[in-house]
């Protein structure tokens, strides 16, 4: 159960950390690598706030062991542009009023990104299905669905 060297490819960059196998990807991203955009909320897979994309699929980093995702493509919210050059999804979230407290937002955006990367023209049901595992208390989801549809249009 000793420390072991782990290599994690996050947002295209290979990071080497010394970690033990019991550390979740969420913990390593936030505590070791400083990717705090990925949020820690329920920690047990109930809320989706920690969603990241691994090999193109939206997954919950709170239930993923860091040790088992070595060598895979991990994408976090930090990869999606920044305040100056936002990703179309981020722009749509802001413009459509899909952001309120913002705590669910990174996870929500990652779920939406995984959807649009795979299916650039989702219908409203597909949009809702993609974010059904992401809880939001502030918005009632209406503007989030609208933002994702808006981003799909911008990307088209």
């Amino acid at each position: 159960m000793a420390m072991q060297q782990m290599q994690l490819k996050v947002n295209g960059t290979l990071h080497t950390v010394m970690e033990q196998p019991h550390r979740t990807l969420l913990e390593v991203l936030r505590e070791e690598l400083g990717f705090t955009g990925t949020k820690r909320a329920c920690r047990v897979g109930d809320c989706g706030a920690c969603t990241v994309i691994i090999d193109g699929k939206a997954v919950l980093s709170c239930l993923t062991l860091a040790v088992e995702v070595q060598g895979r493509e991990i994408i976090t919210i930090e990869a999606l542009g920044d305040g100056d050059r936002p990703d179309p999804l981020q722009r749509s979230f802001v413009d459509c009023g899909a952001v309120q407290c913002g705590f669910c937002t990174p996870g929500m955006v990652m779920s939406a990104k995984a959807l649009l990367d795979e299916n650039p023209h989702p219908d409203p049901d597909e949009v809702r299905r993609a974010i059904a595992g992401n809880l939001c208390r502030c918005t009632g989801y209406a503007k989030i669905v609208e933002a994702i549809e808006d981003a799909a249009t911008r990307l088209a």
Partner: protein
């Protein structure tokens, strides 16, 4: 229409980009060099005497830097008022609810801190517990607080007019019992604090607080340090809804652990801790008796409430007073009597939650009005129109209505809901067989305070620094926990100074820098802080005017600020750029700084917790909600595919933000009505995770939400604005419950509306009809 350059526009929120980028820092995202991680040990009993706490083994665990227990805080207690201070940072002598904080540790990492918790030994003498508020008030019930006999946390008894005479004159009187369950705030960011004690007596704390200045005072008192040495810096807040107002054990413990260890300490609760032992909405039993004339005119309310306060008082007095105030609105009630007990129980502490006490009373009153309409064969819309209050109305208890668009909200909601197409009274439908899916529509009205007028310091202050390049910083102690107030306040600055929204920066609250503020509760920020910002912005503009007048060679009164320009009214082509004006002003003479300041507090006297007489606020919002429901008559499941909010908010400062508030209110209201429930057994929460608790997903909320703003331009609020984020959740419950009756003919008087309850009600109704039929034959 108003001629504003910035206000009234659908502008995206100013903190949107950083939040969407994931770079907005919440408390848990912060860390300091040498920082320790704190964890809290909680009581496994709802009621027990603490005989002994042995922390020796925990202290000896390598990596542990500090362990604290109740005694470390001496006799410090906190609460809203001097007579209600019944909460401890860590339990002293007794634990009063399951999950109450007993000890805390700080260690080099979370794993070690958790391991240390397991090494703390607490010997308890288990005491009988009482978890039902009605039982708690009975003689012989287990007592929670020695100085509060009978488990009475708050008692309010009042009345106006002659209720008995009104009942004698009434054509119809009915009395019903309603119950509203235990629900949580549901914010996704768990409570968190990062504290740094610097000897001898300086505290810096980053904590997730919607009303940070409560904690600022709490920490000064608790640790006996001057307020100037309490630096509370407010990171982004992941939702509050009333659950992040004051100081909580997580905050006190972080500071004490830092003091003891000499290192910064961060504590982040788990969602399990939040859901099982943090604050929540008051469960309430409401017994309401109402007398009306046969045309539906309300003559009197007689209301008795038993509220479950949990183990502490919190802001309970305001909750109990609010329930009374809003028994008087939004309908004309000439005679009113009210008695409420807030009982202590061995449950987590009940506090304010979006709507603070008003949901519960309006659920009862508006569903009962629907019952009365049904009983008397009256139209549900017309009975509301008939009873609606109006501008200039004064309630029997002395609340004064200065602006009221209630009638317009009713009309608007009815139109948006296509009411006339969809509504058929239940009486017309009741003999038709119920299909598998029965549909119905329901309506309910609300009113709310635009800024709760509490006692003590109740004003907001704003400071605006205008920089020489024409940008501005707004210092305010009013926090944005997600509702968008930061954006709206910045818009006010931009409007008055004639600059762009992006030219205004609002740093987050920092108690050593920003002015003291009551906090973001009771829907006070847009109206109260808004006025303070307006005054401050005018003050800053005033400081720019002499130089502008000089440069433009015009009288100061004739000068206008707009579109980043300063010009003589009517001659925008001969304009001065705003940033040239600021540059020149700053350098004028030997130089100056442009710092506008403004304070504004409500002019009405403070809330009267004893009699409920007078105003609860300087302004009241009004609104109407309409719900469309589908009831599966075989499973009892209720869904709400469509909901309309029509709200008299005075003036929509930012319509995009307003819509977000309306939709969020529907989310909270639908959750409260149908999905959410802290299910408990002997004081133990069986639903301490978001799945068991049932926070609604995208599939569970109305697919279609319609938001209508009715603008009445209130004389008090900033630019005529009133609240639009809490009242909007008040009538969600009765609108849905009334719609359920319209669909299937049963009244749900016990929340939440679970499918099983609906099915049982349908069955009971059928059995009753059969019994009646047999009795007649």
């Amino acid at each position: 229409m108003s001629d504003y350059a910035v206000l009234g526009k659908r502008l995206p929120r100013v903190d949107g980009p950083v939040k969407a980028a994931g770079s907005a820092r919440f408390t848990d995202d912060l860390s300091l060099p040498g920082m320790l991680h704190g964890k809290i040990l909680r009581s496994p009993h709802p009621h027990a005497r603490i005989l002994r706490i042995d922390t020796t083994r925990a202290e000896q665990l390598p990596g542990v830097r500090a362990v604290i227990v109740g005694e470390d805080f001496g006799d410090y207690r906190y609460g809203l008022r001097a007579d209600t201070r019944d909460e401890y940072p860590l339990a002293r002598g007794k634990v009063r609810y399951l999950g109450e904080e007993v000890a805390a540790v700080a260690a080099v990492d979370e794993d070690t801190a958790l391991e240390a918790l397991e090494l703390i030994r607490v010997d308890y003498e288990v005491l009988p517990a009482v978890t039902d508020p009605e039982e708690a008030l009975l003689e012989g019930a287990p007592q929670l607080h020695d100085d509060k006999p009978g488990n009475i946390s708050v008692h309010m008894k009042t009345g106006f007019g002659d209720v008995d005479e009104a009942f004698r004159q009434a054509d119809y009187v009915r009395e019903d019992r309603f119950y509203s369950q235990s629900v949580l705030h549901g914010f996704l960011e768990p409570n968190a604090a990062l504290a740094h004690w610097e000897a001898p007596n300086r505290i810096t704390i980053w904590a997730s607080k919607q009303s940070p200045y409560f904690l600022y005072r709490n920490l000064s008192n608790c640790f006996n340090v001057p307020l100037s040495n309490v630096r509370l810096i407010q990171p982004y807040i992941g939702g509050g809804f009333g659950g992040k107002n004051g100081g909580y054990p997580v905050d006190f413990c972080a500071v004490m652990l830092s003091k003891k260890s000499g290192r910064p300490v961060k504590i982040v609760l788990t969602m399990e801790e939040v859901l099982s032992s943090h604050r929540r909405r008051h469960p309430m039993i409401v017994r309401l008796k109402t007398g009306v004339r046969k045309d539906g005119t309300i003559l009197a309310h007689d209301c008795r409430i038993i509220a479950d306060g949990g183990a502490g008082t919190g802001v309970g007095p305001s909750t109990i007073a609010n329930a009374f105030y809003f028994l008087n609105l939004p309908y004309v009630v000439p005679n009113v009597r009210y008695e409420a007990f807030r009982a202590y129980t061995n449950r987590p502490i009940s506090v304010a939650q979006r709507g603070n006490g008003i949901q519960q009373i309006r659920y009862a009153a508006d569903v009962q009005l629907e019952m009365i309409a049904h009983d008397l064969g009256l139209d549900p819309v017309r009975i509301r129109q008939k009873n609606a209050v109006y501008t200039g109305y004064r309630t029997a208890s002395g609340m004064n209505i200065h602006s009221c668009g209630l009638q317009e909200t009713i009309t608007g909601a009815v139109r948006a809901a296509e009411w006339d197409t969809h509504y058929r009274p239940w009486r017309e439908k009741e003999n038709e067989p119920l299909g598998r899916i029965a549909t119905g529509v329901g309506i309910a009205c609300n009113s709310f305070q635009s800024g709760a007028r509490l006692t003590g310091h109740n004003c907001c202050t704003a400071v605006i620094k205008v920089h020489e390049d024409g940008t501005a910083s707004l210092l305010t102690g009013s926090t944005d926990s997600g509702q968008g107030s930061e954006t709206v306040l910045a818009m006010i600055v931009a409007e008055v100074l004639g600059i762009r929204l992006e030219d205004v920066f609002v740093p987050q609250t920092d108690s050593t820098v920003t002015p003291v503020d009551p906090g973001s509760f009771g829907s006070r920020v847009s109206s109260t802080a808004g006025n303070a910002v307006l005054i401050a912005a005018r003050d800053a503009r005033q400081q720019l005017l002499p130089v502008a007048a000089e440069l433009l060679k015009a009288a100061p009164e004739a000068i206008e600020f707009r579109d980043c320009k300063v010009f003589v009214r009517g001659a925008p082509d001969k304009a001065l750029r705003f940033r040239d004006l600021t540059r020149q002003t700053v350098a004028w003479g030997s130089g100056t700084s442009i710092i506008g300041q403004g304070s504004w507090g409500q002019t009405v006297p403070p809330m009267n917790f004893e009699t409920g007489e007078g105003d609860a606020s300087g302004a009241y919002s009004f609104g109407t909600q309409a719900a469309w429901v589908e009831v599966d008559t075989r499973t009892g499941r209720v869904t709400v595919p469509r909901m309309v909010v029509a709200h008299d908010l005075g003036f929509a400062l930012n319509p995009l933000a307003v819509e977000g508030q309306h939709e969020g209110s529907i989310a909270g209201g639908v959750g409260h009505t149908i999905y959410e429930h802290c299910v408990e057994e002997n004081g133990q929460n069986l639903t301490p995770n978001l799945t068991a608790y049932g926070l609604p997903t995208v599939y569970d909320l109305p697919r279609e939400m319609v938001s209508l703003s009715i603008e009445t331009i209130d004389p008090v609020g900033a630019f005529g604005a009133k609240e639009s984020g809490e009242g909007t959740q008040v009538s969600t419950i009765p609108a849905i419950v009334n719609a359920i009756h319209n669909a299937i003919g049963v009244w749900i008087t016990d929340l939440p509306v679970t499918p099983e309850k609906v099915l049982k009600a349908l069955r009971d109704k059928k059995a009753q009809a059969k019994a009646t039929a047999e009795g007649q034959s």
